[in-house]
């Protein structure tokens, strides 16, 4: 009963960060338990809300003890009614928070070289991860990409936390014009990275997995599936992942993820907006019967 809590979280600071809203919540209990790569689920819309489902956000960073008790920082991109509502919160407004949720980024046992790749707000959890890795003696090179400069997040923080930071934008408004996958192979090779951590859109995660695979590095990718509950009870957030036994299962990304080994994800099953069940997945044949 102790790895997750459900609390009323109070906003104590809000600020713009490029295209994003950076919010700090007092969330007693969440901060103390959280590790990089985990996320929280927030209710949205207030007490009269027509929105039943929680919205999930990666934990940007935590400070377990502060003037107000433990705080949790989130980076929110306003894309629809739930994230819009969150981005209009002011100091002292409250909402319900459940967390920390999901499995964190697994940390290497040895002091190996690592590369961290963030796409858009996907960089939110990476600074904290970088700090944690450096504390363990790992080398950390960071690549941050986005469509355009305003959609980059955390470049300054990354520069303080990492050994190097490379920026890419699709439109060339900052850093290299192009994709993170353009600059990634050289970086992975340069220091013989053993692990590539990534967080961002599915297409990027797949590309990162390919690059890592080509050099023998392990890819650890944090996915972002549509989630109704965030706590493992609804089965909406599934994706096909191959287990140690070689069997592909539709696993819940909220409890078995959001971090998966990239080479275990069945990228072939994803298309446009969704994901098919691979024919060889466990239980796929029963679906064909009825």
């Amino acid at each position: 009963m102790s790895d997750v809590v459900q609390v009323t979280a109070e906003v104590i600071a809000t600020r713009r960060a490029g295209a994003y809203h950076h919010l700090t919540f007092v969330a007693p209990g969440v901060a103390e338990r959280a590790r990089p790569g985990q996320f929280v689920a927030l209710s949205v819309g207030g007490s009269s809300s027509a929105h039943l489902l929680r919205r999930c956000f990666s934990i940007h960073r935590v400070s377990p003890s502060g003037t107000y008790g433990g705080t949790v920082d989130l980076v929110i991109s306003s894309v629809g009614p739930g994230s819009d509502w969150l981005s209009t919160l002011r100091a002292h407004d409250t909402t319900s928070m459940v967390g920390p949720l999901g499995r964190p980024f697994p940390l290497p046992k040895e002091a190996v070289a690592t590369v961290l790749v963030g796409g858009g707000y996907g960089s939110a959890p990476l600074c904290w991860l970088a700090e944690t890795l450096r504390e363990r003696g790992c080398r950390v090179d960071v690549v941050l990409g986005a469509a355009t400069e305003s959609r980059l997040f955390g470049v300054g923080q990354a520069r303080r936390a990492a050994d190097s930071v490379t920026v890419t934008t699709d439109d060339g408004s900052a850093g290299h014009k192009g994709w993170v996958s353009d600059v990634l192979p050289a970086l992975v090779a340069a220091h013989g990275a053993a692990v590539v951590y990534a967080c961002g859109p599915m297409g990027m995660l797949r590309a990162v997995t390919d690059v890592a695979g080509a050099t023998g590095a392990v890819a650890q990718v944090a996915v972002e599936e549509s989630m109704a509950c965030g706590v493992g009870v609804c089965m909406t957030c599934v994706m096909p992942v191959t287990g140690n036994d070689g069997v592909t299962r539709m696993v819940r990304s909220c409890v078995e993820g959001p971090v998966f080994r990239g080479d275990r994800v069945r990228w072939d099953a994803f298309d446009g907006g969704g994901c098919r069940v691979p024919e060889d997945a466990l239980g796929a044949s029963a679906m064909r019967a009825h």
């Binding site: 997750v4 209710s43 609804c234 539709m250 969704g274 239980g283 029963a286």
Partner: protein, 324 residues
């Protein structure tokens, strides 16, 4: 007002066709997985019963994604009954629930009436069978033999399933048929299943719905149609319970326990279904909003009954029919 004191003062126990439950609040099938996840938020043994995700004979992958769309005060889902199959369920999930002291209402389904019976037989032979307080038969799933029409839309198909399941289970095991609201006459379906050996009925399963993704101008769910649930549908659930209870009071249908489900988000909401005739209630979709909801609803219901001066939960069951 202390809600805990309320829970102590009011006798919340209820009867599920011969089985006595300490309180009437349950999870709803498919909204609570099989217990481990919610046990992080509250003790699953504190519920009247824990209702498991519908299990079929074989493991099922469920459908592709997206599997959900949020709707105003509700959601649409098309999970496709993803599950481990009855054998793995009996080896892993049921023993876990038993070890926690939970009373388990096991939800089962099949693509044919025979498959329902086979699942029931497997369940009966489980080592953890004594944790089972009843079997909920989810007949709101497609009937392979009848061009995929769901069993619960056809009185005869529904009755056949109940007859076969009943045969495989001990006489004293409550067998509850879970009905779909998507029918012209839900009293006729209730009558058919109760006539075929069902101990009671659970109402309602989700309503069939479609959401269009207006960006892509195509259905949002991978499975095209889905089931609508949540507070949005509560008035339909209350109506279904009302109609079947009224038919029982009028002697048109045999009197039997009704489990009410659909849109319960609070103790007040639960009381709506109870006053309409439900002897127990299930808390479904709202659990996604508040993982502590099933226990909270129990506490709120107890506090509400105490505030209204009722000493026993059973005194309120169907009370609205006396106050017309």
């Amino acid at each position: 007002m202390s809600q805990t004191a309320g829970a102590v003062a009011v006798d919340l126990s209820t009867d599920l066709g011969g089985i006595r439950l300490p309180n009437p609040v349950m999870t709803a099938s498919g909204c609570a997985a099989n217990g481990k996840e919610l046990h992080r938020f509250f003790d699953v043994a504190a519920l009247g019963a824990f209702v498991t995700k519908t299990v079929m004979l074989e493991p099922r992958s469920g459908r592709g994604t997206p599997r959900m769309a949020e709707t105003p005060s509700g959601m649409l889902n098309s999970i496709g009954l993803q599950g481990p199959g009855i054998r793995a369920f009996c080896e892993q999930d049921l023993p876990w629930l038993k070890a926690r002291g939970a009373r388990v209402l096991v939800s089962i389904a099949g693509g044919t009436a025979g498959e329902f019976a086979d699942v029931a037989a497997h369940l009966r032979s489980s080592d953890a069978w004594d944790a089972v307080v009843g079997v909920e038969v989810n007949i709101s799933c497609p009937n392979v033999a009848n061009r995929g029409q769901v069993f619960a839309c056809d009185p005869a198909a529904s009755a056949e399933v109940m007859n076969l399941v009943r045969e495989r289970l001990p006489r004293d095991t409550p067998v509850i048929a879970k009905l779909s609201p998507d029918v012209t006459d839900i009293v006729a379906i209730a009558s058919a299943v109760l006539g075929a050996g069902a101990t009671g009925v659970t109402m309602i399963n989700t309503l069939l719905g479609v959401v269009i993704d207006t960006d892509r101008l195509r259905p949002q769910l991978g499975g095209l149609t889905g089931g609508l649930s949540g507070p949005a549908v509560r008035a339909v659930a209350v109506r279904a319970v009302w109609q079947v209870r009224a038919a029982m009071l009028a002697g048109q249908v045999a009197t039997a326990p009704i489990i009410g489900v659909g849109g319960i988000a609070s103790g007040r909401d639960a009381l709506e279904l109870v006053a309409a005739g439900a002897s127990a209630v299930q808390v479904g979709t709202i659990t996604f909003h508040d993982p502590s909801a099933p226990l909270r609803v129990r506490e709120e219901l107890a506090a509400l009954l105490r505030a209204k001066g009722f000493a026993r939960f059973t005194d309120v069951v169907g009370i609205a029919h006396e106050r017309l």
